[in-house]
Symmetry: C2
């Protein structure tokens, strides 16, 4: 079953990826973030969805754009309010730094609940029905919420702290049905130098290639996997 | 489709989880590792498979056991050699510290390739056939290989360094078909203090409860998610 939905990809255009400041210059961080955005948009499009970049500044890129300089949560909530997402007209929010995202991983956001999702209540033997959930979350490593599918117009984001915990609480308060997507690829947002190793290990797109061209390679010298730069 | 397979769970009985030495005493690390093993075995059993613990010392636990004091790779390879796994008689190796593993996640190891797996070649539009792959890998964060399904008796492990890279290479050399399972739950082995946050955020079994009883809680004070202990 193929489900098409509008996918909003928030993007910090001007000072992206500050936590990579120790290994990449400001100009490099912009180029790297741009390559990751390219990968995410390609995955979304190949999965059959329409991406819109929600950006803090207009991009020189042929993609639907909404420019909003406000903080992430405020800008996303404005889009949700405007879109009034329902089961007939779902809206997704997918982070721009999911450089491991593949079309297959993106498709799992809209798969019938019974196929690959997990129930929040963790009941193993009882597969849920095929009705899509009101809210679908793809948790990020470290407590983030890296992708959300919204089919309830009342939903509002809460990206502070351990946002997955907050979003579960929002869902409970709304009495909304939920599903979580168990994906390493969607869980791995590329934020820190150690995340770069994941991209070298598993990436295959523009961001992976940018990193290789910039001289990064895997370093397993001390028994843990990290990166070095030529 | 339900596929039953023998699941081997390697376990370091005597000095487990040394990298948690900064936050847990030796006795606590043994108790915590034991709780994680309980969770993994429960997930495997609920998924309909038969677990065997491949342990460095006999355990006081009613589960099938193979005692082998040799290093992980040597001991696992001996089991593979003995079992001669084929498509009719697959063998899985699942790490004992996957405390986030659920029956649903374990089931994904044996799902038909087309359903939720990813092809190693990353071709997005072309779903693979429903033939099970000769080798199925669930990559771990940091380059590990947290679970393997073996249907080729020639396969040998290589757990040193970035083992997922080595295992892909082994598969290529054997000309074996492969599939990778994209699961955050199977990717998260609990090794370091920061991994404990993942367990507090997403766990629901014995290890999660042990951690809570030991006084650990989430700490989001500095903007990153970590743990503190009372």
């Amino acid at each position: 079953m193929s489900v098409s939905l509008q996918v909003v990809v928030p993007f910090a255009a001007e000072r992206p990826k500050t936590r990579l400041g120790g290994v990449l210059s400001a100009a490099e961080r912009r180029a790297f973030a741009d390559a990751m955005l390219t990968d995410v948009l390609a995955a979304v499009e190949t999965a059959g969805h329409e991406p819109t970049v929600l950006t803090t500044a207009a991009l020189d890129r042929s993609v639907s754009q909404i420019v909003d300089e406000r903080p992430l949560g405020t800008a996303v909530d404005a889009v949700v309010t405007d879109a009034t997402p329902t089961h007939d007209r779902p809206l997704a929010v997918v982070m721009a730094d999911l450089a491991l995202a593949t079309p297959t991983a993106i498709r799992r956001l809209t798969e019938p609940s019974g196929q690959t999702g997990e129930r929040l209540d963790g009941q193993p033997g009882e597969r849920p029905t095929d009705d899509p959930a009101d809210l679908v979350f793809a948790p990020g490593l470290g407590g983030g919420t890296n992708a959300i599918v919204v089919r309830d117009p009342r939903f509002r984001t809460d990206y502070h702290g351990a946002s997955i915990t907050d979003h579960r609480q929002v869902a409970t308060e709304l009495n909304a049905t939920t599903r979580e997507v168990d994906s390493r690829r969607l869980a791995t947002d590329i934020d820190t130098p150690s995340d770069l190793a994941e991209l070298l290990l598993h990436g295959e797109g523009a961001a992976h290639d940018w990193l290789v061209d910039a001289g990064f390679e895997l370093d397993t010298a001390d028994g843990r996997v990290g990166v070095t730069r030529e």
